[in-house]
């Protein structure tokens, strides 16, 4: 009995470790390839560890196209979206969770339903709309929508707000506080973890967005990192060591943000799944 339990434990661990290897191997391969010489990367059978480590791949990848400009562009869009997402989603979610107004339930159900709508349906008319106001090849189409709140963020925050005791608001009302004061003094301080979650997801979404910049930006100097990387691929198609170095550079910021905010990510995903 004891022995068979031991064996099943070892089996479970082996499966989990195999899964972990499957998750890490591609990332390991990326970094390993990013530091190889162009000769060594073509050796068969492949070597696991670069020899010598050629760090200059990074310098070469970073200078061969204007990565720093792409980085700045991406950062600008990301920060613009982040601010908008936080402000409008937090206010909206507060209104849906706590305040009463005619049509609230209708709008909230429409908001939830809109999450089912495939992006392709709205993409074409939205593109035409931006073209009518002459905003193609600007950052407006990429940033401005975030200022109108996303259904996902509002839903997630509203779930969180409903867990804050109503007595707190009511006590403040009795003391003569208005909705905005309550929002700023009670709701925002108490929902910091949820706001961080929204911030992190928003950062990831705009940093990783590909379709948006692909459709709206057509001038190289306005490109984001995602587009820049794709352009890099078309220029250096066979230079895998450089392509891998460039990819590593694009991934690095999100990995850093992920490790800093890890706890909040896990909480955020749990919140979406559980109360859905």
């Amino acid at each position: 009995m004891q022995k068979s339990r031991r064996i099943s434990q070892i089996m479970v661990y082996s499966i989990l470790i195999a899964g972990a290897v499957f998750c890490l191997l591609p990332l390991f391969w990326l970094i390993r390839s990013s530091m190889m010489t162009s000769l060594q990367i073509f050796e068969m059978p492949p070597k696991w560890i670069p020899e010598p480590f050629q760090f200059s791949n990074y310098a070469e990848a970073l200078t061969s196209i204007d990565f720093f400009r792409f980085f700045r562009n991406t950062l600008m869009i990301t920060v613009g979206c982040l601010a908008g997402a936080l402000i409008s989603s937090a206010l909206g979610a507060y209104s849906y969770a706590r305040l009463n107004w005619p049509g609230k339930n209708l709008f909230f159900s429409l908001l939830l339903a809109s999450m089912m709508l495939p992006g392709a349906v709205t993409l074409i008319p939205t593109f035409i709309g931006w073209k009518l106001v002459d905003s193609i090849n600007t950052y407006w189409p990429l940033i401005l929508p975030a200022w109108f709140g996303s259904a996902f963020d509002i839903f997630l925050l509203r779930q969180f707000y409903t867990s804050i005791p109503r007595d707190l608001d009511e006590a403040a009302y009795v003391d003569g506080a208005g909705p905005l004061t309550i929002f700023m003094r009670i709701i925002v301080p108490l929902s910091k973890p949820a706001l961080i979650v929204i911030g992190l997801f928003s950062f990831m979404n705009s940093w990783n967005d590909f379709m948006g910049p692909l459709v709206y930006l057509n001038e190289e100097k306005k490109y984001t990192l995602a587009l820049g990387l794709q352009m890099f691929q078309s220029i250096h198609s066979a230079q895998w060591h450089l392509l891998m170095a460039a990819s590593t550079v694009v991934i690095l910021p999100v990995i850093i943000v992920f490790f800093i905010g890890q706890r909040y990510f896990i909480e955020g995903i749990t919140l979406t799944g559980m109360k859905g």
């Binding site: 972990a20 059978p45 089912m116 495939p118 349906v121 999100v254 990995i255 749990t270």
Partner: protein
């Protein structure tokens, strides 16, 4: 009170109207027009739709078939993989749960463009890691992304790499199953298998259902991977539906036609979701209904 409520929700109300409802209706109208970015839209009735269904546009059925193939492979495999991972991770004796969880989640945050680069490299027929594994094991190597037969399964394998969110949702659900149920089952002499099939699975059905719906909606919209790794090839074998819409609209400028294609996708997603909801009554178990 009501005024403040409307004021606070105003951005989201405007957003919903401007960026969802209005475009949705416009796109429905455009789908009945001939509109190629340069001309003014001309009403042509159901022509865009008949052109699709009667096969005049050769890519329509092809991209439907390719996308269904992807969804049918990806959704069940993704659910099984992530459920098994979450279940094992939730076992009492496992140490280092949070390390495993972090590792499983890590691929999710990698930008799709970058992960596509990594996977093209891994899948490379001559120099890729996968083929050198196969060679070492004396198994015939594959052409992965470069063969019509293996391109969709290859993209499915790549997508299974980033199942972290689903795993975490399952894990949270498993942690929410009341221990008292298992304890009662042990008293009644139930073994591990009985506990799994008679407690774990039924208690998890709402979460399985949630992941099934979200996973399917996502899978129908697969796009970036195909655009970067295969450009829809070889021979349109990975021309996924969303890619097809993108190509019609933004490469060929066929806005009206592309709108019709997009609306068909919307209808398909609605029908599939409706079917899931219909069948859910017979297999999804809600505690509150007991």
């Amino acid at each position: 009170m009501a005024a403040a409520g409307i004021l606070f929700a105003l951005p989201s109300i405007l957003g919903l109207t401007l960026f969802t409802i209005l475009p949705m209706l416009t796109s429905l109208i455009l789908s009945f027009t001939d509109y190629r970015t340069v001309n003014t839209p001309k009403f042509i009735g159901f022509d865009n739709y008949t052109r699709l269904f009667d096969g005049t546009d050769p890519y329509f059925y092809n991209s439907l078939w390719v996308t269904f193939k992807y969804v049918i492979l990806r959704v069940p495999l993704g659910l099984v993989f992530s459920f098994v991972a979450a279940f094992l991770l939730n076992l009492d004796f496992i140490r280092g749960k949070s390390i495993f969880r972090t590792i499983f989640y890590l691929p999710v945050i990698v930008p799709a463009v970058a992960s596509s680069m990594i996977w093209i490299w891994l899948f490379s027929p001559d120099l890729g890691l996968f083929n050198s594994f196969l060679e070492a094991l004396h198994i015939p190597t594959l052409n992965w992304l470069y063969s019509e037969k293996t391109v969709v399964p290859s993209i499915v394998i790549m997508s299974l790499w980033a199942m972290g969110s689903t795993i975490i949702i399952f894990l949270a659900g498993l942690q929410g199953v009341p221990r008292s149920l298992y304890e009662a089952a042990i008293v009644d002499g139930a073994g591990a298998l009985r506990k799994f099939f008679n407690i774990t699975i039924p208690m998890m059905t709402p979460i399985i259902f949630f992941n099934l719906i979200m996973g399917s909606i996502g899978a129908f919209q697969v796009f970036t991977e195909a655009l970067i790794m295969t450009q829809g090839g070889p021979n349109n074998a990975s021309l996924f539906y969303n890619y097809y819409i993108y190509r019609e609209a933004f490469q060929f400028g066929e806005m009206g036609h592309a709108s019709a294609i997009a609306w068909i996708l919307f209808m398909i997603i609605l029908i599939v979701t409706a079917i899931f909801f219909r069948t859910s009554k017979s297999w999804v178990f809600y505690e509150s209904e007991v």
